[in-house]
Amino acid sequence: MLVINIIAFVAIFSALMVVFHRSPMVSVVFLIVNLVCIALFFLFLHAQFLFAIQLIVYAGAIMVLFVFVVMLLNLRKEEELLPGWRVQRALAFVGGPLLVGALWTALWRRGRSSEAFPGSFGSGFGTAEDIGQLLFNDYLFQFEAASVLLVVAMIGAVVLARRKES
């Protein structure tokens, strides 16, 4: 339990650094730290396959995209953090804690689920075989649709980032 508290502290601290640090590259690195913390949470929640996938896909591929863009656009210019828009800024700082409060209330007030918990934590929960069974049997259409989505996104990204030859 102590370990989970430490990881939660690191996750929240790095999330605050992502939002409040001026340099984009440092924000990227703190987001990577945050993603690794979330992957460790997955490990605690018996989601081993998702732990590995989070590290490979999210922290290992998506964030590399961000690192590339920050390096290529050479975004060293550190913006002034809270320039104008005082109303929006104030609303954001008031709305944030209100949002947390609303979410916490929703979490505490939810009813306990009354049905008996179906499966047990046998060796099957959270492994690749279990997810594979679900993905290829019950959720097959969604799986194929996701692959079409990825192809479309690849084409879109290449088209958007291409230099015009004119």
Binding site: I32, Q48, L55, A59, G60, A61, A128
Partner: protein, 345 residues
């Protein structure tokens, strides 16, 4: 009999010490092997003065690196500059923890698996660690505040993520045959002479080439070579931090060679061994020795290829990764699936 916590902790510590000792010792003596083999290939002697046949040369090199002045240039971004060598080195050490170096031995009344961590998603953990290793290079290039380092870091990161794809896909064939992501089961599915190297040669080729590229090694070392981008992403590094980049490269090589052995060459299996009437402990030791011997052969292969082939230009490198290895790996998956369907595998 339930093992006590203390014995579990001691067992884990001993295994970790063994693996880290092996990897670090390997890293140190790979420098010696590299220079001697380079000498043999180039028809000259390598270092042979320091100690018998030059065996103390790595120690002399280590001392040299320790005593060199550790320059911290004023124009670098210090937090990432100091963090980057660690970010490269730690994932490569972590990747070697899931590789089984022997069958489980029976000591003190229970079975001890010869693997530091028997993860359910073993192979994916290694890919996750190599994905994390990309950041060390990217951050080293960016934090050095230097156009050559930036380009070197960008090129190297692009190379690493492109070849990660080919490496992952070529392993899918092995996973289909083994039916599990656990590396122990991958090794056990290759009992007898059913080594995956014989049944999936295209996958082996893709994996070996991709492993060369992933470790920034051999003909794929453009991002760090001396004649192109000054020295690429480690231009601004000196002394011990530079040494850590070199050590991380060798540690990556050792993990990649061990992985090649585990996935394609039967791991610790020795065909025909169990027929001999030896005590189980001797069998286990022979299997560990076989694993180490096969890994050593692949490390020699890494060195051999480096000193034989000229290096690729960066666009040739990316073409090879995306236009040649990626379709080949897909072809391998397709062929393996057909063979499993027809019952041949």
């Amino acid at each position: 009999m339930e093992p006590s916590i203390l014995s579990l902790v001691i067992e884990a510590l001993l295994k970790v010490a063994f693996v880290i000792g092996l990897v670090m010792g390997g890293v140190t003596y790979m420098t010696w092997v590299e220079r001697r083999v380079a000498g043999i290939i180039q028809d000259r002697l390598g270092p042979n003065r320091v100690g018998f046949a030059g065996l103390l040369q790595p120690i002399a090199d280590g001392l040299k690196f320790l005593f060199k002045e550790d320059i911290l240039p004023p124009h670098v971004y210090k937090p990432f500059y100091i963090l980057a060598p660690t970010l490269i080195f730690v994932p490569s050490l972590l990747g070697s923890t899931v590789i089984p170096f022997g069958d489980s031995i029976h000591l003190f009344g229970r079975d001890i698996p010869l693997q530091v961590a028997d993860l359910n998603v073993g192979i994916l953990f290694i890919f996750a660690m190599s994905a994390m290793g990309v950041y060390g290079i990217a951050l080293a290039g960016w934090s050095s505040n230097n156009k050559f380092s930036l380009m070197g870091g960008l090129r190297s990161s692009a190379q690493l993520i492109s070849y990660e794809l080919a490496m992952g896909l070529s392993v899918v064939g092995v996973l289909m045959v083994a039916g599990s992501l656990r590396l122990n089961e991958v090794v056990e599915s290759q009992s007898g002479f059913h080594w995956n190297a014989f049944t999936q040669p295209i996958g082996l080729l893709c994996f070996v080439v991709a492993a060369f590229a992933e470790t920034n090694r051999a003909p794929f070392d453009l991002p760090e070579c001396e004649s192109e981008l000054v020295a690429g992403y480690h231009t601004e590094y000196s002394s011990m931090k530079f040494a850590m980049f070199m050590m991380a490269e060798y540690a990556n090589m050792i993990t990649a060679a061990a992985l090649m052995v585990t996935l394609y060459f039967g791991g610790w299996q020795v065909p025909g061994l169990s027929k001999a009437a030896l005590s189980p402990l001797a069998v286990s030791l022979i299997q560990v020795g076989a694993f180490l011997f096969k890994t050593a052969f692949f490390l020699f292969l890494f060195v051999w290829v480096r000193w034989t082939l000229p290096r690729f230009r960066f666009d040739q490198l990316m073409d090879l990764g995306w236009k040649a290895l990626f379709p080949l790996a897909l072809l391998q998956i397709f062929a393996t699936a057909l063979f499993i369907l027809w019952g041949w595998l």
